[in-house]
Assembly symmetry: C2
Homo-oligomer: 515 residues x 2
């Protein structure tokens, strides 16, 4: 990126400064909302839900009103004119103004009646989905899903016109600025082909090995939590600026200066909570590392959902399921849980943490089969948005896709097209970000370890400072100054390339080299 | 109150309905703020304070902007005209509109520059007070306190002009609608005279009794907490709509449907945390009992600070330090802490909980001497607001007052005029509410027990349903429909009368009758 330099002595003009003030307030209100969401999931007694909904709705309405205020169009145009006429903005300010316009464009692309209709349809559909999933009864939710899809297509069309994009790309743009379906096709199709040949080899190799020995509990919650806190600290989580709590669905919330991550504990399985915590710690490190000087401004925000996911997957998948890391923590696990015997041998622990087993459920999937779940959903949702797949054919299309990609036939819709909340909740074009994140993680991690031998050496002995320093410099501190593509090129020398991820899988699961 | 009845078939007019919508949003934002304050005090890591300040400031600014929006004056006038012309509002709506105007009048009585100047002066003074108190160095904060007082007097003048009130009354009106200094004089002067004769008699009586045996710890925090939760449940605290947590300064926060109370535990003294929890439980029961149909509207809010305090003092002082209640819980205490021996005899526990000991510090004061602390501050602050007492003479006036009221000479200003944050933090005309609350509590409790023998009988056996039902019907569910005076007359048959409180003290501390 060629730097835009402000004219000597130039200061940002009044329109730009007004916008900075407004966005600071807007994002402070968004942060307030994030905290109330955290509280809702971790602390709130169940009787508080109605009043909490009122609070969140009020905040959302106020934020939307501020963002779409009648004078915003003029302010943005005036700030852009100031920049042109007076070269008064530096690189960061220029990027900040660009992100302001981007945020505003997305917020104003839809009419109020569109937003309201979609919001109503989504509420009804999500509620119907909960019982439909429990009963494995797709027909019960089908009309409501069709209504949501109809409105999403209408909104995608409207957004697309405003942004000059195809409808699906317009939806994608909200999560992933500048990423288009054509790019995802270019990445996902070779990956699908790769996995088709790769998965049987991994399963054959596993079958030829002696069986993995189960590690048996119970594992007391207090012990699991103490261990989670210890590993978080080791990875660089800053407890002066964050917490770990319990919620039904683990997440990373809060704000960069007050990051709230959650997990849930299972007394019979310490591995799931522990890896969950490490995953959320990856998200947390990203949030915490966002550029300090740009707090409360759009350019200081994380650069899209896929990059955020890459930071959690880099920690969880690239680092914490690696042979050196598992060798490092196995003695800690044994000590904490009083583990002994062959099941607690490092090699058995490693195999337990890298087990591949095709299954019906995405959220339970391992690293190798997870992308197949995402590719299936991506293919189906692009077809639905394009009007090429009708909701009434979704269960059949799902089954056909699962058979093709993983060779499995779901026994019912609960384990098929009813398993995920996303579509029913109005989140379309979100699924690809999971696998884009996995690919970005592999590419970043390979560049990081190639850049400095201190990084793998540090990991092996529990010193994450070198890795974190690299991530801070190349990812976290960039905020939203660059596009996702520019950021990746600057950090790794190339745009996103699925071969990094493929090579990682080969090393880990076929032993092509140590990982 | 003669009921205003809406005309048959009349519905509220458009201006009134617009105001209801706006206030609903405004109070939802205020509730969001309350939750963020709770989080700040209980959960937030220290590094989160800067971003939390941004969130709270943004919410406050937005709320102030909504309340003082340019069209609010017209809307209020239009809603009042609708009511007159069409008799379209019922009693509750009429009171709601009155409270809307009240809120608006207070919010708009000061100019923005006055609010800002006061806010800046208070910030500076509060910070200086923290170190001045630690060093017991009044001179170090005196100029800043003088600056605050100057601005408070200016604001009181401005508010007074707007409200048609004397300056001190205008300040008071924000905490205690319709209560005036003349009324407080009428209540406090006889009380001061009463206490002058009463206190020596109590102290003589105590001196003639065998000494109270100390109950020695340690008392594990977990046990204290389990006991606190048990007693809260017994009193009627609804854990589906609230929580108990830990904070440095105990408080009752949150919202009526999600009441968050806090305490702090001392391993060497279970009594302070326990009584603190019971006090906050009284506040919580009030919040929880506010009229369900008027959530999010001004008329559904608590009726002033003194009435709120009366609800905590009714539970703590009238109920929980009474002989029957202490007899009820002493076996629970013994069981929980494994207590045994003469110190754990019910009579000793009762005397421990009703010990009178004049001291320098208000927040450590017992029920008998507490009013003296408040009366002192009330006399001093009315004199300062009236311009009759200069800040430079405050320490001397304080000492003289303490000598007169409690016969004690503070050894330094830390134990004198530097002990409370209120004045330094801009909270003038707040102190009287503590003792007004104590008097209201005594009057309400005597009316309640007189109204139904089930109430004292219930308390003796741990059944608080009859008491809570009475409080709900006569206090909680009234919200802000009546003025504090109207509410008290409706509940007890008379306006506030200090003799209820005096009789309560006589019964408890001189054994005039069992209490």
């Amino acid at each position: 990126m060629t730097g835009v330099r402000p004219a000597a002595g130039a200061v940002p003009g009044p329109a730009y400064r007004t916008l900075e003030r407004r966005f600071r307030r807007l994002l402070a209100l968004r942060d307030a909302e994030a905290m109330l969401h955290w509280d809702l999931a971790t602390m709130m007694p169940r009787g508080g839900s109605e009043s909490r909904s009122e609070q969140l709705a009020a905040l959302k309405t106020v934020r939307h009103g501020m963002l779409t205020a009648p004078d915003m169009a003029d302010l943005l145009a005036a700030a852009e004119a100031e920049r042109e006429a007076e070269s008064s903005l530096d690189d960061w300010q220029t990027a900040n103004l660009r992100e302001m316009r981007r945020t505003w464009t997305h917020a104003t692309a839809l009419s109020e009646s569109q937003v309201e209709a979609l919001s109503r349809a989504v509420s009804a559909c999500e509620a119907a989905w909960r019982s439909a999933r429990a009963d494995s009864d797709f027909a019960a939710v089908r009309p409501k899903l069709a209504a949501v899809l109809g409105l999403v297509r209408e909104c995608a069309e409207a957004k697309g016109e405003r942004l000059g994009l195809a409808p699906y790309d317009a939806l994608l743009d909200e999560y992933e600025p500048d990423v288009r379906a054509a790019e995802i096709d270019r990445l996902f199709e070779p990956l699908a082909a790769f996995l088709k040949g790769f998965l049987p080899r991994v399963l054959d190799r596993q079958a030829a090995e002696p069986p993995v020995l189960p590690i048996e509990g119970p594992f007391p919650v207090e012990t699991q939590q103490a261990l989670a806190l210890r590993l978080m600290r080791m990875l660089g989580f800053d407890f002066d600026h964050g917490r770990l709590d319990v919620s039904l669905h683990p997440f990373c919330g809060g704000t960069p200066d007050d990051v709230r991550i959650t997990t849930r504990y299972d007394e019979n399985d310490f591995a799931s909570a522990l890896m969950g915590v490490l995953h959320e710690t990856g998200h947390a490190l990203y949030e915490r590392g966002l550029p300090r000087d740009w707090r409360g401004q759009p350019v200081g925000e994380p650069r899209g959902i896929a990059l955020h996911e890459s930071q959690s997957l880099l920690i969880e998948m690239q680092v914490c399921r690696s042979r050196p890391f598992l060798a490092l923590i196995t003695p800690m696990l044994r000590e904490a849980f009083g583990g002994d015997g062959p099941a607690w041998e490092p090699e058995n622990v490693r195999r337990l943490y890298t087990r591949v087993a095709p299954g019906f459920i995405r959220v339970d999937a391992d690293e190798v089969t997870y992308p197949a779940h995402v590719i299936l959903r991506y293919r189906l949702e692009t077809a639905m948005i394009a009007g090429e797949l009708d909701v009434s054919h979704l269960p059949d299309a799902w089954t056909a896709g699962m058979e093709e990609l993983l060779g499995l036939t779901p026994p019912d819709d609960r384990r098929g097209c009813l398993q995920d909340i996303h579509w029913y909740d109005g989140a379309w074009a979100y699924f690809p970000t999971y696998t884009l994140g996995a690919m970005i993680a592999a590419q970043l991690f390979q560049s990081a370890t190639a850049a400095s031998p201190d990084i793998p050496a540090g990991i092996a002995r529990g010193d994450f400072v070198p890795l974190l320093a690299w991530l801070r410099a190349h990812v976290h501190e960039k905020g939203s100054r660059l596009s996702p593509r520019e950021l990746l090129v600057a950090a790794t020398g190339s745009p996103l390339d699925p071969r990094y991820f493929e090579r990682h899988l080969e090393r880990r699961y076929l032993g092509v080299a140590a990982s």
